[in-house]
């Protein structure tokens, strides 16, 4: 490690009460996040992938301060944020979020221009005299014609709305942008435009980007690192290139082959991953994935596998990871145990 990471998450856990309130028994709790630790370096693009209920959105909400974790710490640029109910303005502004549904993330009563100018004026980022100029600059940055400033959200297309959301997030000059399924609701051709916009903005502004998605192809395209989550835990983490062939966790491997690739002749005859997602209220003992895992052994039901370093920059939480020959050699070289 050369420099301290910009964001360091250590041991984050979060549960939510579910089910009806009863007088005698405490309510069941849904385990949204369990013991999540992760570093994000400045300028990195991290993809967080997983299916519904894996905890990726809870993680995003904790990062931007909308939810507070039950346990664990969040450090941003050396400041501990975990105990804070209200983050100081400068830190709150540094971490911004782009939401999944571009329509409901915009106040229907504010015009595009007002939406973008509000944070500028509130935080005094530019003076009142300069504010329209800054608004036009931001709109231009995200590829919106300044003439759209007078429009209201319902008058825009899905792609335009998401550009407004991005412009608003950028208005407070954040260091980190967290995109939570930000392209999931867009049409294919519009999705490509917004993905290109994200990569351009990252390069131009030097943003640290955390891209949360269920779509591995998108993450593989945009990100340099990837963390795969399953049932509230990170099960594998490493360079995004591991998605192409080097995945060691059986869940990651299943997920990769389950994506319908738009190439003919690549059909498989057996499902990539068997069975259904277990309940997050009563997760399986040991490894959360063992109920669906092709390589599960008795040990998997007994002990929770911890994230272990498999090779330089590649961690996996599995007792019996899938190893390529190259990986085995690397693993022997790096970890003496």
């Amino acid at each position: 490690m050369t420099a301290a990471p910009l964001i360091r998450l250590a041991g984050l856990s979060k549960t939510f009460p579910v089910g009806p309130r009863t007088l005698l028994r405490p309510r069941s709790r849904l385990h949204a996040l369990t013991d999540v630790s992760l570093d994000v370096a400045r300028g990195q693009t991290l993809g967080i992938v997983g299916e519904s209920g894996c905890g990726k959105s809870t993680l995003a909400r904790i990062l931007v301060g909308l939810t507070r974790p039950d346990a664990g710490t969040i450090a941003f640029d050396g400041h501990d944020l975990s105990g804070l109910r209200h983050r100081p303005g400068a830190i709150a502004r540094s971490l911004q979020m782009v939401f999944q549904d571009p329509f409901s993330a915009l106040n229907p009563r504010l015009s595009v221009g007002d939406t973008i100018m509000e944070p500028l004026l509130f935080h005094g980022i530019v003076s009142r005299a300069e504010v329209t100029g800054e608004r036009d600059r931001l709109m231009d940055l995200v590829g919106l014609a300044p003439a759209l400033a007078a429009r209201y959200p319902h008058e825009l297309s899905g792609g335009q709305r998401q550009r407004v959301n991005i412009a608003r997030a950028l208005s407070v000059r954040p260091q980190v942008v967290i995109a939570d399924e930000a392209v999931a609701s867009l049409d294919v051709s519009v999705r490509a435009q917004i993905l290109n916009l994200f990569s351009d903005l990252r390069d131009q502004l030097g943003l640290t980007l955390i891209f949360i998605s269920h779509d591995l192809s998108v993450v593989d395209h945009l990100c340099d690192r990837v963390a795969v989550m399953y049932l509230g835990r990170i099960v594998e983490e490493g360079a995004a290139s591991l998605l192409q062939a080097g995945a060691a966790h059986h869940y990651t491997r299943g997920l990769v082959s389950a994506i319908p690739q738009p190439v003919p002749g690549a059909r498989h005859t057996e499902p990539a991953v068997r069975g259904e997602l277990p309940s997050a209220v009563h997760p399986p003992s040991g490894c959360g994935f063992r109920t669906r895992c092709p390589a599960a052994q008795p040990l998997c039901a007994e002990t929770v596998p911890m994230l272990q370093t498999l090779a330089m920059d590649h961690r996996v939480a599995c007792h019996f990871p899938h190893l390529t020959t190259q990986r085995v050699a690397d693993a022997n070289a790096t970890s003496p145990t």
Partner: protein, 283 residues
């Protein structure tokens, strides 16, 4: 949708053309009622003057709406009652709207206050509306000021509940979360992002309640619990006319029409406002 079918205003300034016709019609009708209530008494006969030589007269050139069983001019009584009834409508609607909305906002943002307030709302709402008001007025004693007290005790609850629910719904919208993530202060988020999207419901409720209050005022007058005879009030007049419904139907019908006119105006305003206040529909 209903307003689309009606002809839009096609001349005049742009802001006027954007308004739904029902809002314009309702506002005009209400304005006429207010002007009549304000200036009418200067031009009409004395509503209290008795004339036993002309009792139960049908409408004529001399007495446009006829006379009642004491020979009082019904036209001047209806006009003079307008001020009382309209004042009652506004004085009941506006304070309950403001107080109920404020309480609802606090309940929607403060959990302990919510628990207490919603139990209070449950208690108020558990009683049938009219029965509760009549019971309160009856126990405090008849009269206009006690009527207001009863309305205040009952009227805030519906606004508080609606506003509190809306604050919770809107507060969970992504644009409110987005505003929080941007680091805007809680009061800023409340005033700029939550309230403007919340006020539609209580304001619409107020326009329907306005006619309900006028009916309450009339009903209390009719029961002898509100405005006391011989003062002119539409409900009182209907009560007096009831006895003579067969011989002099105009005694009850004409004040009834006055109530109908004002309520219709309020409903039209409410219908029009609901179009204007929903940004996705109109604008």
């Amino acid at each position: 949708m209903s307003t689309v079918a009606l002809a839009r205003v096609t001349t005049g300034p742009a802001w006027l053309r954007r308004l739904p016709p029902s809002l314009i019609a309702g506002t005009l009708m209400l304005a006429v009622a207010i002007i009549v209530a304000w200036t009418g008494p200067m031009f009409t006969l004395d509503p209290l003057e008795l004339d036993f030589s002309a009792v139960l007269q049908p409408p004529s050139a001399e007495h446009w709406f006829g006379t009642d069983n004491f020979g009082r001019d019904i036209f001047s009584r209806v006009i003079n009652a307008a001020a009382i009834d309209l004042q009652f409508g506004f004085l009941c609607t506006i304070p309950t709207l403001v107080v109920g909305t404020a309480l609802g906002v606090v309940a929607g943002t403060t959990r302990w206050f919510d628990t207490i307030l919603m139990r209070l709302v449950d208690i108020v709402v558990a009683f049938p509306f009219y029965v509760l008001i009549i019971a309160i007025v009856a126990s405090l004693g008849p009269g206009v000021s006690n009527m207001f007290i009863a309305v205040m005790i009952v009227g805030w609850a519906s606004y508080a509940r609606v506003v509190r629910n809306e604050v919770l719904v809107v507060g969970g919208h992504q644009y409110v979360e987005a505003a929080r993530v941007l680091g805007l202060s809680s009061s800023r988020v409340l005033w700029r992002h939550i309230l403007p999207n919340v006020v539609v419901q209580p304001v619409l409720l107020a326009t329907t309640n306005f006619s309900a209050w006028i009916l309450v005022g009339s009903a209390l007058g009719f029961l002898g619990l509100g405005v006391q005879p011989p003062a002119p009030e539409w409900g009182v007049m209907i009560g007096e006319g009831r006895t003579f419904l067969a011989q002099a139907p105009w005694m009850a019908i004409l004040p009834g029409l006055a109530i109908f006119y004002v309520c219709l105006a309020a409903i039209l305003v409410g219908d029009g406002l609901s179009d204007v206040l929903r940004p996705e529909v109109a604008r």
